[in-house]
């Protein structure tokens, strides 16, 4: 069979990362002459379930699905399966009901690399804080896992505070970092699990004007974040291959509908990005 219409259910378009994927999916689909119907759950699981029902009503041929919350992840897959529509999970997956294939960054490895980097910059020891993403989502769980590996390898590093965000947004990063600095003025290392959070944290640090340098690591390679990295606003990120993810998602849809077999999990690398190599990514996002 042939793919004419793809449904794209995005968790939250206000996160640049998702927006990049959305744009990549739409661009790839256009070259293949496929129609894309996009819906945005604004981070709310129930809303996403409703939206996917509505996508299925429109007789889509495949569903590209980025779960909004950690909790509701399984239901849309079940709904799609019931309607015999293949599901390509992107970035997040659900234990109980995985999609036909899952595309994501190898968050464990990349988060470890980011944390290794900032810990090393900070001299291998000091107080650290972690600003998590939305609790329980695949990237949050994996990035925590990867970073903690790095923390364990450096006994001089002490994690003094952890907080979770809901929207992975800059606002939240600012707010959370500001609160953390009040309770722990002697922080040296910050791992923020997304660039939005990292940018917010960096600004909160700037406003607080601390006596020593605080090293901030992010994740994603957001358009704005790469610029900021270039200007030294924060120190390191892991650039995810959003363009490739979008392209591959469409490709997978075509393959599955065409009856081809695809691997259940496809993890992509993210590249450790610092001031030194950022220029290439700004010019050409992978």
């Amino acid at each position: 069979a042939e793919v004419k219409k793809i449904g794209l259910a995005v968790a939250n378009l206000q996160a640049n990362f998702f927006n990049q994927i959305k744009q990549a999916v739409e661009a790839e689909a256009k070259t293949r002459g496929i129609q894309v119907v996009t819906v945005d759950a604004k981070g709310d699981g129930p809303t996403q379930v409703n939206q996917i029902q509505d996508l299925l009503t429109q007789n889509i041929d495949a569903l590209i699905y980025i779960p909004a919350g950690a909790a509701a992840a399984t239901v849309p897959v079940k709904l799609a399966k019931a309607a015999k529509v293949p599901v390509i999970n992107v970035d997040r997956n659900a234990d109980g009901a995985p999609g036909d294939t899952f595309l994501a960054t190898d968050s464990v490895a990349s988060a470890k690399a980011v944390c290794d980097y900032i810990i090393k910059q900070a001299g291998g020891s000091g107080n650290m804080v972690i600003i998590h993403g939305q609790k329980g989502t695949t990237p949050e769980v994996d990035r925590t896992k990867g970073c903690m590996e790095s923390v364990k390898a450096n006994p001089g590093v002490k994690v003094v505070a952890e907080q979770w965000s809901n929207m992975w947004s800059q606002d939240e990063g600012f707010q959370i970092m500001q609160n953390m600095l009040q309770a722990n003025p002697d922080v040296k290392i910050v791992f923020a699990q997304a660039d939005g959070l990292a940018l917010g944290a960096a600004q909160a640090i700037k406003v607080a004007n601390p006596s020593g340098k605080i090293f901030v690591g992010g994740f994603d390679g957001d358009t704005a974040a790469l610029e900021a990295l270039k200007n030294g606003v924060f120190d390191v990120t892991a650039t995810q291959q959003t363009q490739k993810m979008g392209r591959t998602a469409v490709e997978m849809a075509v393959k599955i509908v065409g009856g081809e077999k695809v691997p259940p999990v496809q993890l992509m690398d993210a590249t450790l990005t610092t001031k030194d190599n950022v220029a290439g990514f700004i010019a050409n996002h992978p």
Partner: protein, 326 residues
């Protein structure tokens, strides 16, 4: 609050539209909206989509019934979204962490919801805290508690039958949760129209001092209404848990405004004493159909926000203008 006397039969309504009491404007709006969508989208007018819409409005519908009580009383409840989340987490924790039977977990969730309503009611009647503030505070407290139960973590995986309540279409038509919503709507409608207790809510909402001097226990009615609203929010949480097959403490963020909007679009006056369940059903349907239709029409997510805002104003503004002219 919503119990019905078995012996009492509802009398025949003289006017087939009697259940609307003042929501004919919104009804007209709903019909126009449906007509438009039927022509604009091939997928709109179908049994399947109709049932989808019903599925999609269950949570809002159940919460809106409770909010109708509160608004009829001249109050407001900003805590419904948080109480919904708290109820979900209590149920999830009791069933999956403590390992107690599902039925008990649901009962406990509803009891906790009722307590939230009770506290709000007592704050309003006993301590004269304005409803807006009492429920705003409860919104914050219940959300905090919901988060504390699992330290912000979601809980997944309930018995299969539980999830099936929201999925199985009995006789190919109604899921148990949709049926639940319809029953809640029907009982509340009967209750508000034909039970003395229901009329008391109108009296208090119309003028609390007049009601008091007429021998009505205004405090009791007020507390009862906030408890009912909280229990229904808790019930909506259970329905949502079935629909999502999981619970998470951030659920229901911002639902209070959706719910209030549905009730007011349905013609219930924010100053209390006028309106009813019929209108609320229409308000809920307008919001549900609009969201569904905008998705079917492939309207971009951001433009949807703009359109929803405009429709809310049109629905309420048109009804007000109509009344003014009449």
């Amino acid at each position: 609050m919503v119990a019905v006397d078995e012996n009492g039969a509802a009398p025949k309504a003289r006017n087939p539209l009697v259940f609307l009491s003042g929501a004919t404007g919104p009804l007209l709006g709903l019909i126009l909206l449906c007509l438009f969508l039927t022509f604009a989208s091939d997928n709109f007018l179908s049994l399947r989509n109709g049932l989808n819409i019903l599925d999609q409005i269950t949570v809002l519908g159940i919460m809106a019934v409770g909010m109708t009580f509160v608004i009829l009383l001249g109050g407001i409840d900003l805590s419904v979204g948080s109480v919904l989340a708290l109820s979900m987490m209590v149920m999830g924790w009791t069933a999956n962490v403590a390992g107690l039977p599902m039925g008990l977990a649901i009962a406990l969730a509803l009891v906790v919801s009722a307590l939230c309503g009770l506290v709000v009611g007592i704050l309003i009647t006993g301590f004269r805290v304005p409803a807006f503030i009492a429920t705003l505070a409860m919104m914050s407290v219940a959300r905090g508690l919901a988060n504390m139960i699992t330290d912000g973590q979601q809980i997944v995986g309930f018995p299969d039958w539980f999830m099936m309540l929201a999925i199985d279409r009995h006789f190919g038509v109604l899921t148990a949760t949709v049926l639940l919503m319809l029953v809640v709507l029907f009982i509340s409608w009967i209750f508000l129209r034909y039970r003395a207790e229901g009329r008391t809510i109108y009296a208090v909402g119309g003028n609390a001092e007049v009601a008091r001097l007429a021998g009505i226990n205004v405090s009791l009615v007020t507390i009862g209404v906030y408890v009912a609203c909280a229990v229904l929010a808790g019930l909506a949480g259970i329905v949502l848990a079935a629909r999502l097959d999981s619970v998470q403490p951030s659920s229901g963020l911002g639902y209070e405004l959706d719910t209030i909007a549905a009730v007011v679009i349905g013609g219930t006056s924010l100053s209390g004493g006028a309106g009813g369940i019929g209108g609320t059903l229409i308000g809920v349907l307008i919001i549900g159909v609009l969201r569904n239709g905008l998705n079917l029409l492939n309207v971009s997510p951001f433009l949807q926000q703009v359109i929803i805002g405009v429709v809310i104003v049109l629905a309420v503004g048109a009804e007000t203008l109509r009344r003014k002219r009449a």
